[in-house]
């Protein structure tokens, strides 16, 4: 139930979000307005063909239906919002409407987190973890300033994870299928779901009395029954989503919209992952080539002007070998091995049934984290916003974390949320992003406690504390210094942000693997 405290807390968040209305919004604002217009004015058969605006519909059908539902309200609010030719429409009423839809749809996350608190026994630490996630700078920056509907989507994801925590595996799987039909970026974590549901839900084991501990047989009949149930549920969800388009023979068109393989390895601003470090190493080698002629011979001149100049195109490197998409795919798969290892170790753990279920779902969430992490570290054209995909499930684990998990969370959340700063590049938003992040980091460092009762700040090692504090000079150097201070090296501020945060992100990736797997 909602208490007075929850409501006060929700309203303070709502207040800040309301005040943020006139702040900067990105092209995603117009993207979503255009989708409102497409779904409102066109028949289903034309949704994925419409291309009058450059912002074509490229989310799966459930999201299109979500936009359609919103467009009904939009029509009543201000009919000009849903006019197809009204490109770039962003008057006060349109901004108010769209910002409001984000805030209202975010209540899904709020209620999901409420359910999460219940599922964790209503402990104080789970409430703190939930509150920190709901008011996290991630959603504040990406949803309420930049403009997207992540609060809504991650709400569905949290629901799915909480269902797994409660032991409703079938429901968890079905919810995840629904989520995939809202936004396909969640495919990053699909492998963890697949293995968890296959091993933890579908496979039913029979134990015989005189069998040695740890040996048991597969109950084929019961397993097949569960597999059929799960399969049927997933098929129904996908049939509802994609069926109409299959009947219209539009699936190839949908596929080409949902998976545009034309983009480069790195975004204009490198998301802080392995490839950011790789690209930076390349830059360093170019500098080094002035002094070491051996490197100079290897320079590929086309790479010199490429990756940092800021176009979403093919990325080519000057010294290091170029990376084909297949290589990132293989690297991602290899990096996902720890995620599977977590689940396999988890299925063989012993203990009472209830405890087993709890620890099983904990391991599942850990595996989701590692799975998302692998895609983030090595994926093709990763967006910095994808950090939310790691931080959201990891945030659920901070309700009762081990010291190691808490340390990694502190490092990763600081670096990861800081890496969103270039999204809000205007000087108008400068104080906002700094204040929001600082408040959040202060609160999380002081209020999150390890299972032994130590606060996150006290858990951190000295080097990790230095790293967290190092974001302050980084902020001063990259955001407060005038751009002329960097002379010809205009790419340097962004590159510094990527590399510095990539160090923290990589460090806590290794730390989490150590924590979860070993």
């Amino acid at each position: 139930m909602l208490g007075a405290k929850d409501i006060a807390f929700l309203l303070v968040g709502v207040g800040i979000k309301l005040l943020l209305w006139p702040a900067y919004h990105s092209t995603d604002f117009e993207v979503h307005r255009n989708w409102l217009a497409i779904t409102n004015s066109l028949p289903l058969s034309k949704w994925y063909y419409e291309d009058r605006s450059e912002w074509t519909l490229d989310y799966p059908p459930f999201f299109a239906w979500f936009e359609w539902a919103l467009s009904l309200a939009a029509q009543w609010w201000d009919p000009r919002i849903v006019q197809l030719d009204n490109l770039g429409y962003a008057t006060g009423s349109c901004v108010a409407f769209q910002r409001l839809t984000v805030m209202v749809s975010e209540l899904v996350l709020f209620s999901a987190l409420g359910r999460f608190v219940q599922a964790s026994g209503g402990t104080k630490q789970s409430k703190i973890a939930a509150a920190l996630m709901f008011l996290s700078p991630g959603f504040m920056f990406v949803d309420h300033v930049h403009f997207q509907y992540n609060g809504f989507l991650f709400g569905i994801m949290v629901y799915s994870l909480v269902f797994a925590m409660e032991g409703h595996d079938l429901l968890a799987g079905t919810t995840f299928a629904v989520l995939l039909c809202f936004k396909h970026i969640f495919m990053y974590i699909a492998p963890a779901y697949f293995i968890y549901l296959a091993a933890g839900y579908c496979a039913v084991f029979r134990t015989r009395r005189r069998q040695p501990v740890g040996r048991c047989d597969l109950d084929v009949g019961a397993s097949a029954q569960r597999l059929a149930k799960l399969g049927a549920a997933v098929v129904v969800v996908f049939a509802v989503a994609f069926g109409p388009f299959a009947v219209l023979r539009q699936l190839p068109q949908l596929a080409s919209r949902l998976f545009p393989f034309k983009r480069g390895l790195c975004h204009a601003y490198w998301a802080p992952n392995f490839w950011a470090l790789y690209a930076f190493a390349d830059r360093l080698l170019i500098l080094a080539s002035r002094f070491v002629p051996a490197i100079g011979h290897a320079i590929d001149l086309s790479g010199l002007a490429a990756s940092t100049r800021g176009l979403v195109g093919d990325t080519s490197f000057a010294v290091l070998p170029d990376i084909p998409p297949a290589a990132t795919f293989i690297a991602t798969l290899l990096a996902q091995i720890p995620a599977y290892a977590v689940l396999i170790r988890g299925s063989s753990s012993s203990g009472s049934r209830n405890k087993k279920r709890r620890s099983g779902s904990q391991r599942f969430i850990q595996s989701v984290v590692l799975c998302a992490y692998a895609s983030y570290m090595f994926g093709w054209h990763v967006h910095e916003k994808a950090i939310l995909l790691i931080l959201a499930p990891l945030g659920l684990l901070t309700a009762a974390p081990t010291q190691g998990t808490l340390r990694m969370f502190a490092v990763l959340s600081t670096a990861g949320y800081y890496s969103l700063f270039p999204l809000l590049f205007g000087s108008q938003e400068l104080p906002i992003k700094a204040a929001v992040l600082l408040i959040w980091v202060l609160c999380s460092l002081a209020l999150l406690k390890s299972d032994r009762g130590l606060s996150a700040w006290h858990c951190l090692l000295r080097a990790e504390r230095l790293y967290v504090l190092g974001h302050i000079p980084l902020f001063i150097a990259t955001e407060l210094l005038p751009s002329c201070a960097f002379g010809r090296l205009q790419f340097l501020p962004l590159a510094l942000v990527s590399v510095y945060t990539a160090l923290g992100v990589t460090y806590s990736w290794l730390g989490l693997i150590h924590e979860f797997v070993l």
């Binding site: 405290k5 309203l11 207040g15 005040l19 104080p431 906002i432 408040i439 002081a446 209020l447």
Partner: protein, 523 residues
């Protein structure tokens, strides 16, 4: 075993009952204390105050996009562009005292460094580019952070404010997030926080018993905006009473006089050369020619005007004298009381510094409210002046100050509406009522029930006027109906607050003085 079990329960019950009387802001600091996280309390408060200010600053300002005269925003920018007293006076001639002129000049100098087009003389009139707005907004923020914020934090952390950690932290939070000042300075656009900051420094140095610095701070406040005169009788009474102490009273008097003369002299130095210049400053700063009141303002003259048309009955000079007399009568009781109490304490018995500060704050509220209600040429924004010392009493008068802020905010609604600040207005109004207020938590045992009910009624009246304003168009014969209703209601409430704070000063503080004296006698 048996006796040990009820004990934790009793402790729990005790802590629960202690918490029942806690308003939501205090609950946050309770929580931090329980979590052993007191260290982040002040940084988070300051950062949150910054965040809210900057978010409000994203919204509209006075006279945005409305040529040819624009509003206060353009006035302040224009002063940065010219900064002195003789220049095309019909276009926002500078009408504040020299310290404002210095501040405009300094800001103009910085602006010129960054982008000369923002402050180019004449050519920049009505400039409303995105970056120039950002610059202007950040000057307000920086000045407030330099002057107002440290004064508030230091004052509440000093030993002279007697309250526990939670109450003090909640008081700092509330004073810094007080809606009226934020909406006027960062929304409407003015630099009131500088003047009020100097006032808080005045109180702070009174608490530290450093009267010379105190006098200098008050002179700065006066030289920033002549409106600080609203406080002058109280400050004067306080310092004069201090001069009656033996044996160094006369020396203090001379020193104070010197400090005042030197402070004023330094600030007026650039104009000392010609009497014409000085006259011009005086004329610009005190525009007695402007009439009894300008727009609709919730003071007595404007409210009485609904029934009795004073302005058509009397000539302006008569009204001026009438207003002066009424104001003097209104502020006399509290100032005389302050003078006598401090003087009695100064001669012989020591008045505890904490009590002296409390007394001074009450007198400042009463004195400035007297000016607001009865003086000549009052602006609706001037309610910020009584609010500032009242907020310094927020730990003493939790419900009265909270209520006062609500009504003051309501009284400024017509102004904020003109500036397109409805969203920040509603957010701040609801936020303040929710975080500070008793109606939100009926379990608050510190508030008498009758007060709670009265506050409910007042909130309902305000909401009703708002709702009617939104949905019922006023009759054509009374186009200003809702503004007048606002004025009459707010004025009535302000008169009640005036009476209440006077009553509190005259009763409560006297008791305090007597107890300290009796303690002395016991010794």
């Amino acid at each position: 075993m048996a006796p040990s079990s009820p004990q934790p329960q009793a402790r729990q019950a005790a802590s629960a009952s202690r918490r029942a009387g806690v308003i939501p802001v205090e609950r946050w600091f309770w929580f931090l204390a329980e979590e052993n996280a007191q260290g982040i309390a002040l940084p988070v408060t300051l950062l949150f105050a910054l965040l809210v200010r900057w978010c409000v600053a994203l919204h509209g300002y006075s006279g945005q996009g409305s040529p040819p005269l624009y509003g206060d925003y353009e006035a302040q920018r224009h002063w940065m562009e010219l900064t002195w007293y003789f220049y095309d006076l019909s276009y926002w001639g500078l009408d504040y005292p020299p310290l404002t002129a210095f501040q405009s000049w300094a800001c103009g100098w910085v602006a010129h460094l960054i982008n000369p087009s923002w402050v180019a003389l004449d050519r920049s009139r009505g400039i409303e580019t995105h970056t120039s707005k950002l610059f202007m907004r950040s000057t307000v923020l920086v000045l407030e952070a330099l002057i107002y914020v440290p004064a508030v934090v230091l004052l509440f952390q000093s030993r002279q404010i007697q309250a526990n950690w939670i109450v003090k932290q909640a008081a700092i939070f509330s004073v810094l997030l007080q809606p009226c000042l934020i909406l006027i300075d960062h929304g409407h656009f003015q630099y009131n926080a500088v003047m009020l900051g100097f006032l808080v420094w005045t109180v702070y140095f009174a608490a530290r018993e450093q009267y010379l610095v105190m006098a200098a701070c008050f002179c700065c406040s006066l030289m920033f905006k002549q409106m600080a005169l609203y406080f002058a009788p109280a400050v004067f009474a306080f310092l004069l009473a201090k001069c009656f102490r033996s044996p160094y009273g006369v020396r203090l008097f001379v020193q104070l006089g010197l400090v005042v003369i030197v402070t004023f002299g330094v600030m007026l130095l650039p104009w000392m050369g010609s009497s014409a210049q000085l006259q011009q400053i005086l004329f610009r700063v005190f525009p007695v020619a402007r009439g009894l009141y300008e727009d609709k303002v919730a003071n007595v003259w404007c409210a009485v005007n609904v029934a009795v048309k004073l302005r058509s009955m009397f000539a302006a000079p008569v009204l001026l004298r009438l207003a002066a007399a009424a104001t003097s009568v209104a502020f006399a009781p509290s100032c005389i009381h302050l003078f006598l109490a401090v003087k009695r304490a100064a001669s012989g018995q020591a008045l505890v510094a904490a009590d002296a500060v409390k007394l001074l704050c009450y007198a400042l509220v009463n004195c400035s409210l007297a000016f607001f209600l009865f003086s000549f040429q009052v602006h609706e924004k001037s309610i910020l002046l009584p609010l500032a010392p009242a907020l310094l009493l927020i730990h003493e008068e939790p419900w009265a100050v909270n209520w006062f802020v609500q009504v003051a905010l309501f009284s400024m609604y017509p102004l904020l509406f003109k500036d397109g600040l409805q969203i920040p207005y509603w957010v701040m109004a609801v936020g303040w009522s929710m975080l500070r207020s008793c109606p939100a938590c009926p379990a608050d045992k510190r508030t008498p029930l009758a007060v709670l009910n009265a506050q409910w009624v007042s909130t309902l009246v305000m909401v009703a006027i708002h709702v009617a304003n939104m949905y019922v168009p006023p009759p054509p014969s009374l186009p200003d109906l809702y503004v007048v209703l606002n004025v009459v209601f707010s004025c009535t409430m302000f008169v009640l607050f005036f009476a209440y704070f006077n009553y509190r000063q005259l009763t409560l503080s006297l008791v305090r003085v007597r107890t300290t004296r009796s303690k002395k006698k016991d010794n």
